[in-house]
């Protein structure tokens, strides 16, 4: 505790600070505009669109988990319902020739998400913590199972499809080519990110953080934590609906997988791996997870196992996620003591990498024997062809795994010492309170 408590409002930001702040958003907008000029292939445009959708979804999830401290296992409900409603809306607009252009259609998805969050949220948010997590799971299962029963509306296993080019056209944009969809997604992503950032700056956003940290105290101050959680839940549902709507427009189809547990799990992975402690965390996570799921699935057939292991590793060793790890170094950089930890990082990098390589090699060999026992043993993983039946490779993977772990353990203690020293140095210079 410092002796003088700050009682006045923080000083009004200087002009340079404001310029930096707005410059960031303008820069992001320009980057989004120029991205297709640099990578113009159809595949990369699709990837960018998927990333945009996943960013909105992960950020909407973080309104719950990161800002308000509610762990939800059923966030895909609002995403999926937004998607389904939008497909129906596109069909209705198309057949009745209503004057609603496609760029406004995601709003319908958002409102759907909001509506269902308003309906289901009041019961779900009565308690937080573990109870909320279980309730969200139960509600998600209820909706996902009901979707398979209400066949006319949800289209059963096959889902329902629509044609986005049949919608009323503004400025002669057909939204057939992927580039136009990219710009639509990019514009909505930017809008949604700005809106969600602004939300964290409002009194409501601050109260959400308070409810996350100490709900009892919030009650003493005179707020009802239940109401605050409910409001956060509604906002979160709204943005999830927008993400679902954009996904439905992108694929021109909505099926029961949109609502399912896998979708809920993926957004949780994205937000948590990216880091829930910072606003930018889920954005990083969404980009990382989308690239990972697209890239790993080409490199190895058991990519989902690696995906799960990465998630477990993040939970165990880096609870702050990627962003948390990077942000830990900010005070060191400010104080100029980062140089003290860097050498230990470089040293530990080699044995840790060897350990991981051994682990991956062992996994791939085991997978080969478990899945394709009798086939040709010359397999390819991560682009490297090798012979899974080769006894030397077995020995190599064992040596890498055990030896790497043994050496790496020693270097990890070194990193720990170097870290303590560097933070100590930073504390002396006053970069850490």
């Amino acid at each position: 505790m410092t002796e003088t408590t700050q009682s006045t409002a923080p000083p009004y930001p200087a002009a340079a600070e404001k310029l930096k702040f707005y410059g960031l958003w303008v820069g992001a907008a320009i980057a989004l505009l120029l991205l297709p000029k640099l990578f113009s292939s159809g595949g990369s445009l699709t990837t960018f669109s998927l990333i945009g959708i996943s960013i909105i979804f992960a950020l909407s999830y973080n309104i719950l988990l990161g800002q308000t401290g509610m762990l939800s296992f059923g966030h895909a409900v609002y995403y999926g319902l937004g998607g389904f409603l939008v497909i129906h809306a596109i069909n209705i607009i198309g057949t009745n020739k209503l004057p609603i252009p496609l760029p406004l259609v995601p709003l319908i998805g958002g409102l759907t998400g909001l509506l269902f969050a308003v309906l289901l949220g009041w019961v779900s948010t009565q308690r937080s913590g573990t109870a909320f997590a279980m309730i969200s799971l139960g509600v998600a299962e209820l909706i996902a199972s009901s979707a398979l029963i209400l066949r006319t509306f949800f289209g059963g296993e096959a889902g329902i499809s629509a044609n986005r080019t049949k919608v009323f056209r503004l400025f002669d944009w057909s939204f057939g080519p992927q580039i136009q969809i990219y710009y639509l997604v990019a514009a909505w992503t930017l809008l949604a990110v700005i809106a969600m950032y602004a939300l964290t700056r409002t009194p409501l956003g601050r109260m959400c953080n308070a409810v996350r940290d100490n709900p009892e105290r919030v009650q003493f101050v005179g707020y009802d934590p239940h109401v605050v959680r409910y409001l956060a839940f509604c906002f979160s549902g709204f943005f999830a609906g927008i993400a679902g709507a954009l996904a439905a427009i992108n694929f021109e189809i909505a099926n029961s997988a949109y609502l399912g547990a896998v979708q809920s799990g993926t957004v949780l992975f994205a937000a948590y791996i990216g880091g829930i402690g910072f606003f930018i965390g889920p954005i990083v996570g969404a980009i990382f997870v989308t690239f990972l799921s697209l890239g790993l699935s080409d490199l190895t057939q058991v990519w989902q196992l690696y995906f799960g292991l990465i998630f477990i590793a993040v939970v165990l060793f880096a609870p702050g996620g990627i962003t948390g790890l990077l942000m830990m170094h900010r005070p060191l950089l400010k104080a100029g003591t980062f140089g003290r930890v860097l050498p230990s990082y470089l040293i530990t990098f080699v044995p840790t990498l060897a350990m991981l390589a051994g682990l991956i090699l062992a996994t791939e060999i085991i997978v080969y024997y478990a899945v394709h026992g009798g086939d040709d043993s010359h397999i390819k993983a991560f682009g490297i062809p090798f012979d899974a039946a080769n006894r030397y490779l077995w020995a190599l993977s064992a040596i890498l795994l055990v030896g790497g772990y043994w050496v790496a353990r020693k270097t990890w203690t070194m990193v720990g010492h170097a870290w303590d020293e560097a933070t100590g140095g930073a504390r002396e210079k006053g970069a850490i309170a």
Partner: protein
């Protein structure tokens, strides 16, 4: 009609007891460690697959003993080297860890045994009909399942009420911190409870495997129902978990055997509405909505009694 009621009651109690085998471990783990083990149903699946593999090598009876022991050892290791490490990061991190674990276990099982169901058969020594009731042959294996669940239930009850370790566990249900203050090795008790809890789930897996389908998605199908049981019964209440297990077992079994629908009760819908979503609701049978019954029950309980049937603790 009477036949339907008797058979459904038997099946429902059986299913309920199976649920309780898992829910009891889950509840005790939750009460002591404060973490709802998301991977609990995964240990049920591990039990079923280990049971399948071991019964192939050594026969069913060794499998019934070895598979739960192995699964329990894995569970204890998970607590010792995984959960204890994330404990300092709070309950959300613990829940997320078990969530990631459930995901990884499902992937590993899929890699080793494939996605399609494995051929886990009822042992020949139990493959006959126990008795005939209203012209229905009731299989002996189901009676065996019921017997095993009741035996374990009784053993659990005696251990909890009569032994020293049971007293400590009981004390830890309501006053976890005090038990630690009294000088018990809380870490080892936690590991033991986690191991026994997961072993119980594995027992359920071994005995349910031949009767139900042993498949890589069985954890994903059962897991949510298990959480419904625990929430409906009241988080942390063992008697509540028992009541809720039987309730959900009976509700689901009776629902599956009923064929009524709104169109059956009020006559067919007028053809004007045949192509609308109303016809889905009108024509759906009770048997078809049986899978969603537990979740409907969950929502109802949350509205009318948020702490669960017999719950007292408000987490």
């Amino acid at each position: 009609m009477l036949e339907l009621i008797v058979i459904s009651t038997l099946n429902g109690v059986l299913y309920g007891m199976l649920l309780f085998l898992m829910a009891s471990g889950l509840t005790v783990i939750f009460s002591m460690l404060g973490v709802l083990n998301f991977a609990h149903a995964s240990f049920y699946m591990i039990g079923a697959f280990f049971g399948f593999q071991i019964s192939r090598w050594f026969g069913f009876w060794p499998a019934l003993v070895i598979a739960p022991l192995l699964a329990g050892a894995i569970g204890a290791a998970v607590e010792r080297y995984g959960l204890r490490r994330v404990h300092k990061n709070g309950h959300v991190a613990e829940l997320l860890f078990t969530f990631g674990l459930a995901f990884a276990i499902e992937e590993v099982v899929q890699i080793i045994w494939g996605k399609s169901p494995v051929d886990f058969r009822i042992p020949p020594s139990l493959d006959f009909s126990a008795f005939t009731i209203f012209s229905t042959n009731y299989p002996a294996y189901k009676m065996f399942m019921l017997l095993v669940s009741i035996l374990i239930f009784a053993a659990l009850l005696i251990t909890l009420k009569k032994t020293r370790i049971g007293l400590i566990v009981q004390a830890a249900l309501t006053h976890p911190h005090m038990v630690g203050h009294l000088g018990h090795n809380v870490g080892r008790i936690f590991m033991l409870v986690f191991g026994v809890g997961t072993a119980l789930a594995a027992v359920a897996g071994v005995i349910a495997g031949p009767a139900l389908v042993t498949q890589a998605n069985m954890a994903g199908l059962l897991g949510p129902i298990l959480f419904v049981v625990v929430v409906v019964g009241g988080l942390g209440s063992l008697p509540g978990a028992f009541v809720a297990s039987l309730l959900i077992g009976l509700v689901q079994t009776f629902a599956v055997s009923m064929n009524g629908s709104l169109s059956g009760a009020f006559g067919p819908l007028s053809p004007d509405y045949a192509a609308t979503w109303l016809s889905d609701i009108w024509n759906v049978t009770i048997a078809q909505i049986a899978p969603i019954m537990p979740y409907v029950l969950l929502v109802l309980i949350l509205i009318f009694r948020p702490m669960g049937l017999l719950g007292t603790r408000d987490t």
